[in-house]
Symmetry: C2
Subunit: 157 residues, 2 copies
């Protein structure tokens, strides 16, 4: 799952050199075959590089601060964009009724999510202490409470 990918990538970011899939699986307590599968996808997406053979393993393709979280997520789930209404053929109903601009707005939603995700790199995940980022004090646990404060203008970045 995507969670696994983030965990593995984070551990990989904290590690020095290449790490075998087995070690990473142990560290993250992820079932070994599943971890391997996830790492393969990450490798195919270019997030990590693989070294086959003895003393092989996986290593981050770039420096941790150069790898955005969205890359990890997209490596697993494919493109983050979820356009459904835009099919060039079924947009007929969009015209006669309140010419809903869902298509362009979906794009905007996806873009907003992508931008939010791009703000966070693997370095931020692996070394949270070095975060010069968000000033929002994540005091407790409920992110629900946060939702009521989203009208304020504090920016993430």
């Amino acid at each position: 799952m995507t969670d696994y990918a983030v965990m593995l990538a984070t551990h990989l970011a904290a590690a020095d050199g290449a790490q075998p899939a087995r070690d990473l699986a142990l560290q993250t307590q992820i079932p070994e075959p599943t971890a391997s599968k996830v790492l393969k996808k990450l490798a195919r997406a270019g997030v990590v590089i693989s070294q086959r053979g003895a003393k092989g393993g996986y290593a981050l393709a770039r420096r941790p601060e150069q790898v955005g979280i969205h890359e990890v997520i997209e490596a697993i789930e494919g493109p983050i964009a979820v356009t459904e209404c835009s099919d060039e053929s079924t947009d007929s109903f969009c015209e006669y009724e309140t010419n809903c601009g869902v298509r362009a707005n979906w794009q905007r939603i996806n873009l907003a999510v992508q931008r939010a995700l791009s703000e966070i790199s693997l370095a931020d995940m692996a070394f949270p202490g070095a975060a010069e980022l968000v000033s929002i004090a994540l005091s407790g646990k409920d992110a629900e409470r946060m939702r009521s404060a989203d009208t304020q203008g504090n920016e993430v970045h």
Copy 2:
């Protein structure tokens, strides 16, 4: 699916008063029972209010600009947060190895996504013309190209 919810909510935002599920289904070309199902979830989540009986139907619970997209999405998919590693029991491995702060960082990811989604209201979806929002010219179709431009500081909202 979530797309349906967004469409229905958007059409509802553009409509005046309460709309029967059947009419909304016709307008959006969504199978009627499915549309009804989606509307039920939206009603339970408090996004829309339901009026039973003859001449009943669904209406937006608040004004379109007061309803964030994330509410619609969460109404269908449940909480947007996806914390998996935080189980109070399995966080042992997080300590001995590079005390990974995945938990807090996942919260930050979720928060970032929520904030990004909160920036967009149903009013923005229903009346895209009134958008004083993004200056990004969504020229074509590929949101892929956009990803390379996310380092710029232009804000959504």
